[in-house]
Symmetry: C2
Subunit: 342 residues, 2 copies
């Protein structure tokens, strides 16, 4: 078992004090050049490694940042985390992962745990806006720990966010469906308490109105992000007096379910019915009948969130600047809605 070498060990060996060793290693200009070289050489020879915990305790900075997501095993969140890790790694930060599983209680708990662990910042996607975890959020802000929301945001003074323009995503997609000749476009909506879903819906609605189409409440079906939910939604929609001829789904999984159900009923896609999803999950482009979807550039979102964090950290004296970064959504048009190319 290798001994743990401290600056005291180096000091002892060289008959100097730990203070001098510390200064030499930190390039303090007051240290004689010859001493510095000697210390550095000796430190290397003894295989000295700085104890990060001691440093963290002294400085109050752990060089860890916390990331809270509903779950990690979703392509979107995993990609965001990848972006965060890649951007922050060069700066010496380590990424701590926490999952909420959409539970506000877990979210609350994670926030406190991360603060306890003295992270230097928290990047997160909120779980639920209705529940009041404001205590936990306030606690973070009071501790002066930079807090940055990505994708699923929440309005809190002084908190920056990185999101995509979901409204535009919904608008573009709906507009595209209209352009393809669809006349009655339904929408599979997500949890309206989350802005992202609210905005996708609003974009959908606005696109309808801007293009002389009627918005009908009955065409909006709330779904969970699952294949089955998509199937059920189609079942409901097709029973309407005037069934729709297109679906803009706020979830790729629901879009997939919808497609499966439509096929089951021998409805031809995209000829008779067009479908578009949201998130650009990998499978959407792999399908034989590839699915039109909105890309949220998760990698870029993660990197951007990390950059916003880097801007805010260490600026405790400055008045905190609330930065709202909004990325542009990118509509990937594929077979499930491409009548023109057929």
């Amino acid at each position: 078992m290798s001994e743990k070498i401290t600056i005291y060990d180096i000091a002892e060996k060289l008959n100097i004090t730990a203070a001098t060793v510390s200064r030499a290693l930190n390039n303090n200009p007051k240290i004689k050049e010859s001493t510095r070289e000697l210390v550095i050489k000796t430190a290397a020879a003894m295989n000295y490694k700085q104890n990060k915990l001691a440093l963290a305790l002294k400085s109050g900075r752990s060089n860890n940042i916390g990331v809270i997501v509903p779950r990690i095993d979703s392509n979107f969140f995993a990609s965001v985390i990848r972006g965060i890790e890649e951007e922050l790694h060069p700066h010496g930060y380590q990424v701590i992962i926490c999952q909420t599983h959409e539970s506000p209680k877990r979210e609350n708990e994670n926030l406190y745990t991360l603060i306890d662990a003295q992270v230097d910042g928290i990047l997160m996607s909120v779980t639920d806006v209705t529940t009041e975890n404001d205590g936990a959020f306030r606690n973070v802000l009071e501790k002066n720990v930079p807090l940055i929301f990505f994708d699923r945001s929440k309005h809190i003074d002084g908190v920056s966010s990185v999101t995509i323009n979901d409204f535009k995503g919904g608008y573009l997609t709906t507009k595209h469906l209209i352009n393809e000749g669809c006349r009655c476009i339904a929408h599979l909506s997500g949890d309206q308490s989350l802005e992202i879903f609210k905005n996708r819906f609003l974009g959908y609605k606005q696109a309808l109105l801007d293009n002389g189409m009627i918005f009908k409440e009955e065409y909006v079906i709330p779904v969970k992000s699952s294949v089955d939910a998509g199937k059920e939604a189609v079942d409901i929609l097709l029973q309407l007096e005037t069934p729709p001829d297109a679906i803009f789904s706020s979830s790729d999984f629901a879009a997939l379910g919808a497609i499966q159900e439509l096929k089951e009923r021998n409805i031809s896609i995209p000829k008779e019915f067009c479908v578009a999803g949201f998130s650009n999950e990998p499978f959407t482009k792999f399908m034989e009948l590839s699915i039109t979807s909105v890309d949220q550039s998760p990698l870029e979102m993660g990197k951007m969130a990390a950059r916003v964090f880097l801007e805010q950290v260490d600026k405790t004296d400055t008045i905190k600047i609330e930065k709202k970064v909004v990325l542009a959504p990118e509509l990937h048009i594929r077979k499930s809605s491409s009548r023109s190319t057929i």
Copy 2:
């Protein structure tokens, strides 16, 4: 900005020493019951939070564990990490994520960084067996930090691992293809320096031999795990004198590419040609022509790796027990290879 409350603050308020406060909070039996209650009540009232960094420095334990994976944005690794996090969270551990991007240099760097950060354990999937990062691994073991490999393992004395029986996975799949009537089965192989791919290949070979079929070198095409690689492989295979009538791919992505290329050539699947992949990526079951694949139960693998870690941590005095957990692969038979059900 909320003050940071320490045990000294509590001590001062109650006119006792920090030692007593510490003991009271830690349920030390030597503390008078009345004192303990008073301390606990006061701590709560003052909103005291234990400083984890100080504790970590004193105890040498950070309550963090490091996870190193090639990349996080792959369904498999993300699911493993999910399993790890869920299993370790109740025990108070936080999970630090590192990516190698298949670079041995990054792997090396990550290992040292995690040790520097005083993690209490490292769970990882190795990147490459050929490169000698042995120094870094030895460093981990010398520091007495539990090291556990999952999926991609490496033979190092005293290191436990959690893997699936890749040999069996390859064997079962190949056997299945044989049962479906395939006579010439090709294999898209992965990096043979990694045991997982080696074993999938060996399982494939053994199944052929056990069932009176001939093994041909030319039927084994090394591929990267990508759609394009699968397409190219098919291109090569179909130019052979005796082209195969089935493919067992060590990668789902390559299997997908193969299927796309076969369709391109109007070869009917599974009638004329069967295809099976490995990993059970989400898209394999979503496809209209769903793809037969081997499930590696990543969630379970992560949980198991975490459990092995929990068993090993804190047992520094005991002789380290090398534990090799091998999970059973599960073949999911789908349309891409199901002649019987058609």
